[in-house]
Subunit: 197 residues, 2 copies
């Protein structure tokens, strides 16, 4: 018999809008398998087929930026803890700035942690290959490789990028500054960037 | 030895901005494997690490819609064949309407063809299960199942949805109408929809 925690019941309720008892029963019956529990509740007609799965938990806002030529567009989710901060105009300006940053500097990830390990290894390999005929000692090469990797992160990770309007500032510092002002965590939840041509 | 076509060379050039001869040589060397060719050119320092892969081929625009509460946002790529149509204000209004549609009606896919086959099978199973004690004959049940499936498509597929501003019109008809007017194909390339809470 699987452990059915109250967190699981809560998650299932959010996903299906079914009652607490129904959710608990379903979870116990399928041994805690969330997907099966959703399916079971839907089969019983208690959950709606088109009800959206996996809703975002926190507060925040959605912002967008469309470049003037309409060929580049960005959608951004900027999260906060309270709706009070989300309604703050200065916070909304931050979301706008970040959207413009993404449009201009085209990051692929939010954090360094989001870069797939195999991509990092591939980068390292490429840098080593580029230097293999340099005649430099191994430990020097490794230092250069790590330096190039830092540069790579500051190209592809939003938080590591230089702010387009002030290259002395990194995006993560821009956000940290606001966190200090509001006294509340701010996180880039996700972003999309579309480009034509 | 693999066939290296001029299309492949063109694709590799677009991906890496390397010269034609370098691209051809790389492709021949790796037996036409595009990913390996990109990697090889990058190792040779001919291609830039952050150069974006897989650019969109066609013309079109990027549009967005942010709901007034800033809790729902949509980013949309609407494609055309010529930039002439993309610059048309009426076309840009269509992109805006579609973005609002997505914000309001929350489709999960663009086309019926985009719905994963296993999801369709799962839906069918659920509908059958709901009716198994109905006493109806099998062929009647199957007809009802297909009817429910149509309803499901019109919930989850943008092109099958009813236009929020005129439920008599399906989104695909709205687009077809514009195709007839401009005499040029129009396609929803992709969309993102973010929602807080």
């Amino acid at each position: 018999m699987a452990d059915v925690t109250s967190d699981m019941i809560k998650e299932l309720r959010e996903k299906t809008q079914a009652g607490m008892l129904d959710c608990k029963k379903a979870l116990v019956e399928v041994d805690g398998d969330m997907d099966k529990a959703v399916e079971m509740l839907r089969k019983k007609g208690l959950a709606s087929a088109t009800k959206k799965m996996g809703r975002e938990a926190s507060e925040g806002i959605i912002a967008s930026y469309i470049h003037s030529n309409m060929k580049i567009g960005v959608l951004l989710e900027l999260r906060t803890v309270t709706d009070f901060v989300a309604r703050n105009e200065d916070f909304q300006n931050l979301a706008k700035e970040l959207s413009m940053q993404i449009a201009a500097a085209n990051p692929l990830y939010i954090n360094i942690e989001d870069v797939p390990a195999e991509d990092i290894e591939k980068e390292r390999e490429i840098y080593r290959e580029q230097m293999k005929d340099s005649g430099k000692p191994e430990n020097v090469i490794e230092k250069i490789v790590e330096g190039k990797l830092s540069k790579y992160y500051s190209d592809v990770c939003l938080l590591e990028q230089e702010y387009i309007k002030d290259p002395k500032v990194r995006i993560k510092d821009l956000i940290k500054e606001k966190i200090a002002i509001y006294g509340e965590n701010i996180e880039v939840g996700k972003f999309s960037r579309f480009q034509i041509g």
